[in-house]
C-alpha cells in the first residue's frame, strides 16, 4: 500500500464524515443565527431521524423512502416543539433558558426513543447499488461513502443557494440581522422561526438516516454527534453558514487523522483544535465576537 493512495482514501473518508457532520452542524448554526437558540437537543433529533428512517425502511422496504419520510416527520415534530414550548422562552431577560429547555428535551426524547424502539442497536443497510466498493489507485473504498460526499456537496450548495437566491432565504437572513425591523415590515417573524427550526431538524434527521448504515441506529449516537456539532459551530462561528461548512471539514479531518494515529486521544484533538481557534479568534473563524 503506497502512501499516496492511502492518503487519498483517508481524505475521502474524512470528507464523507464531514458530509454527515455538516447535516447536523448546518441546522444548529442556522437555528442559532436566526433564533438565538442553542439547540442542545439537535443530536437527539439526528438520532430520531435514524430511528424513524429505520422504521420507514422496514415498512416500505426502500432506503429512498427513509430518506424522504424521516426529514418530513422529524421536521414536523420540530415545528410542533417550537410552537408549543420553545417560543415561550423568547425574550427572557436572563439568557440560558434555551440551552436548558433543549437539554430537557434531549433527555425526554432519548428516553422516548428507548421506550419506542428498545435499547438494541438497529441496523439499516444501505441500498443494494451502494453496497460495493470502488477501487481508487488500487485501494478499495466504499461506494456508500462516495454517495455521502456527493450528497453533502449537493446539500451544501442547495442550502447556500436557498439562503442567497430565494425570497424565503432573504427573509431568513433579514430576521437573523434585525427581527424587529422585519416584523415592522409586515412579515410573520414567528413563522420564519418555526420554519427555520423545522428545516434545521429535518436536515439533522436526514443526516441521521444517512449515518445509520455506517453506525447503525443506537441510543448514544445523539450525544456523540451533538458535541461534535457544537465544536464545529464554535470553530466556524456561531450562526455562520459558511463557518459550519469549514468547521465540518476541519473536524472530520482531525477525527480521521486522530483516530488513525492516536486512537484514544482522537477526542482530545478535536477539543485542542477548538481551543486553538478560540484563543486566536474568540468568536470563531467567521463569527462576530460577542
Amino acid at each position: 500500500m503506497d502512501f499516496v493512495s492511502f492518503a487519498l482514501t483517508q481524505c475521502l473518508s474524512a470528507l464523507s464524515q464531514a458530509a454527515i457532520l455538516f447535516f447536523v452542524a448546518c441546522g444548529l448554526t442556522l437555528i442559532f443565527g436566526i433564533m438565538r437558540v442553542v439547540n442542545f437537543a439537535h443530536g437527539v433529533i439526528f438520532m430520531l431521524g435514524a430511528y424513524v428512517g429505520y422504521t420507514a425502511a422496514r415498512i416500505s422496504g426502500s432506503f429512498i423512502a427513509a430518506l424522504i419520510v424521516a426529514p418530513i416527520v422529524v421536521g414536523i415534530a420540530g415545528i410542533a416543539f417550537e410552537r408549543l414550548l420553545l417560543r415561550h422562552i423568547y425574550g427572557r431577560r436572563e439568557g440560558g433558558s434555551d440551552l436548558l429547555l433543549t437539554f430537557g428535551l434531549a433527555v425526554v426524547l432519548s428516553e422516548l426513543i428507548r421506550l419506542a424502539w428498545g435499547a438494541q442497536p438497529l441496523s439499516l443497510p444501505a441500498p443494494e447499488p451502494l453496497l460495493g466498493a470502488l477501487f481508487i489507485l488500487g485501494q478499495p473504498f466504499p461506494v456508500y461513502r462516495v454517495f455521502l460526499i456527493a450528497l453533502g456537496v449537493v446539500a451544501g450548495i442547495g442550502v447556500w443557494q436557498f439562503l442567497e437566491r430565494t425570497r424565503a432565504g432573504l427573509l431568513i437572513r433579514a430576521v437573523s440581522q434585525n427581527p424587529e425591523m422585519v416584523h415592522a415590515l409586515g412579515v410573520d417573524v414567528g413563522l420564519v422561526r418555526s420554519g427555520v427550526f423545522g428545516l434545521g431538524c429535518a436536515m439533522a434527521a436526514l443526516g441521521g438516516v444517512l449515518a445509520a448504515p455506517l453506525l447503525t441506529a443506537f441510543l448514544g449516537m445523539g450525544t456523540n454527534i451533538v458535541i461534535d456539532a457544537f465544536v464545529i459551530v464554535i470553530i466556524g462561528g456561531m450562526g455562520s453558514f459558511l463557518g459550519s461548512v469549514i468547521g465540518s471539514v476541519l473536524v472530520a479531518f482531525v477525527q480521521v487523522i486522530g483516530t488513525y494515529y492516536f486512537a484514544e486521544l482522537a477526542l482530545a484533538f478535536m477539543y485542542l483544535l477548538m481551543l486553538a481557534v478560540l484563543i486566536v479568534r474568540p468568536g470563531g473563524l467567521l463569527g462576530k465576537e460577542e
Binding site: 422562552i89 433558558s97 437539554f103 484514544e264 477548538m274
Partner: protein, 310 residues
C-alpha cells in the same frame, strides 16, 4: 444566622433519627448539594454557564482517590490536597475559558471536562480506564482521629464541609467582591467602565467554583470508595446544572435544595419505575418554562406574597 443555626442543629440530629440506609442517601444528597452550590457561584453570580463542571468533581474524586490509595495519607489531608490540586488545575482552565462568554464558555468548559474524560482512558494504568479506581480507603488521622471512618462520622464530615462551604460562599457573595460579580452579571460593560478588571474577577470565581466542586468530588471518593469515568462525563455536568436551575440559581441555598430534591426523587422513582430519566427531563422542562426562578425563588415569592397579604 438563627435559621442557619437551626439547620445545623437539625442536621446534627439527623443520624439519630433516620435508619442507616437512609443516611447513605442523605450523604449522597449533601455531597451533590455541595457540588451544585459550587456551580452556582459561576452560573448564579456571573452568568457563566459551565457545561463542564464534572471536571471539578472528577478531578477532586480522582486526586483524592489516588492520593489515599498510593500515599496512604490521612483522609482529611488527602481531601485537602485534592482540593489544592483541583484549584491548581482550574487556574489555566479558568484563564482560557473566561476569554469567551455565553455558549463558547459553556463549550470550552465542556471541552476541558471531555479532555479529562479522554485522559482517563489514555492513562489507563494510572486511572484504571473504564473500570475507574476502586477500594479507596478512609485512613485515620491526623492526630489519630478516626471518627469519620464510621457511617455516622462520615455524615458529620460531609455536613460540616457543606455548612462551612456555604458560610464561606455566602461571605464571598455578600462581600465587595460579590458586589462586583453582581455587576458583571447585570451589566458587564458598565462594570468595566467603572474601572473593574472583570476578567480577573471571573477567573477568581471560576477557580473558587472548581475548588468547592473538587471538595465535593473528594468527599464523594471517600464516601463511595471508588471513582469512575462517569464523574467526568458531560451528563454529570448536565445533571448538576439542572439541579442549580431547578433549585434556583444565584441563591446558594436553592441549588442545595435542587440537588437534594433530585437525589431523593431519583432514589424513590428508580425503585418503582424505569421511567426515571423521562420524569427527570419532564420535571426539568416544566421548571424552565413555568418557574425559571427555581424552587427557592418560588418559595421566596410565596413568602413575600403571604407577608404582603398579612
Amino acid at each position: 444566622m438563627i435559621r442557619f443555626g437551626i439547620v445545623a442543629i437539625v442536621g446534627a440530629l439527623v443520624p439519630f433519627a433516620v435508619p442507616q440506609y437512609a443516611l447513605t442517601v442523605i450523604v449522597a444528597a449533601l455531597i451533590f448539594g455541595l457540588f451544585a452550590m459550587s456551580l452556582d457561584l459561576m452560573v448564579g453570580y456571573c452568568r457563566l454557564f459551565s457545561f463542564g463542571h464534572a471536571a471539578a468533581y472528577g478531578l477532586g474524586a480522582y486526586s483524592a482517590g489516588l492520593i489515599l490509595i498510593h500515599w496512604k495519607l490521612p483522609l482529611l489531608i488527602g481531601i485537602a490536597l485534592a482540593v489544592g490540586i483541583t484549584v491548581l488545575v482550574a487556574i489555566p482552565i479558568a484563564w482560557i475559558c473566561t476569554r469567551s462568554t455565553g455558549v463558547s464558555f459553556a463549550m470550552l468548559t465542556l471541552a476541558f471536562a471531555q479532555l479529562g474524560y479522554a485522559m482517563l482512558f489514555r492513562f489507563r494504568d494510572f486511572t484504571g480506564g473504564s473500570d475507574g479506581i476502586a477500594g479507596i480507603p478512609r485512613p485515620p488521622g491526623p492526630f489519630g482521629m478516626d471518627w469519620f471512618q464510621a457511617r455516622n462520622g462520615y455524615y458529620f464530615l460531609v455536613l460540616g464541609c457543606l455548612l462551612g462551604s456555604y458560610l464561606l460562599c455566602r461571605a464571598i457573595v455578600r462581600s465587595p467582591f460579590g458586589a462586583v460579580l453582581a455587576g458583571i452579571r447585570e451589566n458587564e460593560a458598565k462594570t468595566v467602565a467603572l474601572g473593574y478588571n472583570t476578567r480577573a474577577y471571573k477567573i477568581t470565581t471560576v477557580v473558587l467554583s472548581y475548588g468547592f466542586g473538587g471538595l465535593a468530588g473528594a468527599l464523594y471518593a471517600g464516601f463511595a470508595g471508588y471513582a469512575s469515568p462517569e464523574l467526568f462525563f458531560w451528563l454529570t455536568s448536565g445533571h448538576v446544572l439542572v439541579m442549580v436551575v431547578v433549585g434556583g440559581a444565584g441563591t446558594l441555598v436553592g441549588p442545595i435544595l435542587g440537588a437534594v430534591f433530585f437525589v431523593f426523587l431519583e432514589h424513590q422513582l428508580s425503585q418503582v419505575t424505569d421511567l426515571w430519566p423521562l420524569a427527570f427531563g419532564a420535571i426539568f422542562m416544566a421548571f424552565v418554562l413555568l418557574a425559571p426562578q427555581g424552587i427557592w425563588g418560588f418559595l421566596a415569592r410565596v413568602r413575600k406574597d403571604s407577608n404582603a397579604a398579612a
